[in-house]
């Protein structure tokens, strides 16, 4: 009997530094499987963000550049414009993409840059120790919203997929999650679709992945999955928000 399950070539042997119950590991694997299945590892360049995934290049085995906080879409633009034959993706968290890097992602999407963004939204800053993000839920307690996010003071959480889908330039914008197997299969399809659009030189593509951060949410991994499904997915509804014509 042949081997039916193996580690993707694009995934390294390193043990990740991610916390128990964190979904970065699952998302890394889906990206790695996609790179393998499309046979593009030898011409793929990833851009690591500032945040928990800054060391993504230790786990994903292809060329990588490391960006400053929020600037990954500008770096991806630079690479893709001078080397359109390369496959380029950014891997960014919500503090990185939706706060300090909001300008870069909107303009890259609006120019229709032919790269792919994996946007990991866990409603909090992870690496810096659990501060409020633009995606933090109303009332959600963080180290910089200890009484809960007060929307009167700081506004409502930003829905990135909907925001980017409102741009008039054609794009593939979708929101997924990976908290349970049924969602993981859909997320995998979406990530592969996003890379395929890039491979076909069709459009900008972004997959928002609603994710967990049990450590900074102060929950067990099981509680975190439950809270994601009940609270985050009610506000950040999964689905395709834009498909290129």
């Amino acid at each position: 009997m042949g081997k039916t399950f193996k580690k993707p070539e694009a995934l390294s042997d390193a043990h990740t530094h991610y916390c128990p119950g964190c979904t970065h590991g699952v998302i890394h694997r889906l990206v790695a499987e996609t790179i393998d299945e499309l046979g593009i590892r030898g011409r793929t360049v990833g851009i690591a963000p500032v945040g928990c995934a800054v060391l993504a290049y230790n786990y994903l085995n292809c060329d990588f550049q490391e960006a400053a906080h929020g600037r990954a879409p500008a770096m991806a633009t630079g690479i893709k414009r001078v080397r359109p034959d390369l496959m380029v993706f950014t891997y960014q968290g919500d503090g990185d993409l939706a706060s300090i890097g909001m300008g870069e992602i909107i303009h890259a999407a609006n120019r229709g840059e032919k790269f792919t963004t994996i946007f990991v939204n866990n409603a909090i800053y992870g690496m810096t120790g659990g501060q409020m993000a633009p995606t933090t839920m109303p009332g959600q307690r963080t180290s910089t919203s200890p009484l809960g996010r007060n929307v009167e003071e700081v506004g409502m959480p930003i829905k990135v997929a909907e925001l980017l889908a409102a741009l008039q330039t054609p794009a593939y914008i979708t929101r997924q999650t990976v908290i349970k197997p049924k969602y993981i299969n859909k997320a995998k399809k979406a990530i592969k679709q996003a890379f395929t659009y890039q491979l076909e030189n069709r459009c900008f593509s972004l997959v928002e992945v609603v994710s967990t951060c049990p450590t900074n949410w102060g929950m067990t991994p099981v509680e975190a999955v439950d809270w994601t499904e009940k609270t985050l997915l009610a506000y950040y509804q999964p689905g395709d928000y834009k498909i290129p014509a």
Binding site: R43, Y57, M75, I79, R83
Partner: protein, 356 residues
């Protein structure tokens, strides 16, 4: 070699193409927007890349991305725009990528003005970004020299795997002069397979490359900083450039001046000579590394009693001049930084008042 009459900013754009750089990202800012207006037409003619970014912050990282992927790339901006790019410049220096930045300086601080200035000397030579990073900084005094410095900048950036800055004042960008683009300054990009993210398939090694600046291990970070320091020391030993004027005979004082200001000083020196007053001049062509040995030699002349740094700033280069004169002679500064360029008559008055 045929000469053409060109505006400095347009000549800078053409020089990059002639040097073999076909990738340009930029954001509009006076007084250098003509570079982008020239290249948006010219790049398609040579199969190159032109992109107007959404901000200087973003452009800095477009440059980083393209440089990290191993392609020759450059941008042009002016003082406030360079401040916004300085974050990216620190990252590019840390990750040891070659790239060329042109700063056509305007008055500051803040929004300042749009007229010529040399007030970014300290920023360019000492404070371009956070951390222990330095740029190789070249300062042209004519449109022809700007062309040659731009053409030289790309191989130098690749030699040192470090960003290079052309620091020109607004006049260099705005004035028209006859220029030639020397064929011998065209260069082939170096092979970057050892480090660039140009795709594994593309490389013999078939192993992946990382372009990064994060070193969480203190020993590794210190090692990276030692590597950078060694590189800056190599620049000091190999790439310092300066020009002397009227220093063959005796002179009562030495002017140190660069860029457009040095041309005014040259006129003043000729006028003083006609009056029988001999003044020498040292014109740094590289500001980092600073021509410290040439300065030490020039001030060692027994007839020289005073060193005068003349700049379109409130006294920035004078700090380096003072440092390298090492207390051997009095050092003073004269300058303006509002957009008015000191006239030869003003320079003559200052020379007479200070030491002649």
């Amino acid at each position: 070699m045929a000469k053409v009459l060109m505006k400095g900013n347009e000549a800078i754009g053409e020089a990059a193409i002639r040097a073999g750089c076909l990738n340009y990202f930029a954001y509009p800012i006076t007084p250098q927007s003509e570079v982008a207006e020239y290249l948006v037409r010219r790049m398609p003619e040579v199969g190159g890349v032109f992109l107007q970014g959404e901000s200087e912050v973003a452009v800095g990282y477009m440059i980083f991305g393209a440089a990290g992927a191993g392609e020759r790339v450059f941008t042009t901006s002016s003082s406030p725009g360079i401040s916004l790019m300085s974050e990216a410049i620190s990252y590019i220096a840390a990750a040891q990528c070659p790239a060329v930045f042109v700063n056509i300086m305007r008055g500051g601080p803040g929004l300042g003005g749009i007229l010529p200035s040399q007030a970014d000397y300290l920023q360019a030579t000492k404070g371009i970004g956070h951390g222990d990073c330095r740029l190789l900084v070249m300062a042209p005094a004519s449109v022809q020299e700007a062309v040659e410095m731009v053409m030289n900048a790309f191989p130098l950036a690749e030699k040192y795997r470090n960003p290079v800055m052309i620091l020109g004042d607004g006049l260099i960008g705005q004035m028209m002069e006859p220029v030639a683009f020397p064929d011998h300054l065209k260069s082939e990009p170096t092979n970057k397979d050892a480090w660039a993210t140009n795709g594994m398939d593309h490389r013999k090694s078939k192993s992946r490359n990382l372009v990064k600046s994060l070193f969480l291990d203190p020993v590794q970070l210190n090692d990276n900083n030692l590597q950078l320091k060694a590189k800056y020391e190599r620049m000091r030993a190999e790439t310092v450039m300066s020009e002397s004027y009227n220093t063959d005979g005796d002179y009562t004082g030495l002017i140190v001046s660069y860029g457009t200001m040095s041309r005014v000083c040259r006129t003043a020196i000729d006028m003083l000579k006609a009056e029988g007053i001999e003044v020498g001049m040292l014109r740094p062509q590289t500001l980092f590394p600073f021509p410290e040995k040439a300065l030490a030699d020039a001030v060692s002349k027994p007839s020289c009693t005073h060193v005068l740094s003349i700049e379109m700033s409130m006294g920035q280069m004078v700090e380096d001049v003072d440092r390298f004169v090492r207390g051997l002679l009095p050092v003073s500064w004269y300058g303006k930084c509002g957009g008015d360029i000191p006239t030869p008559e003003e320079v003559i008055d200052v020379v007479k008042e200070r030491f002649a």
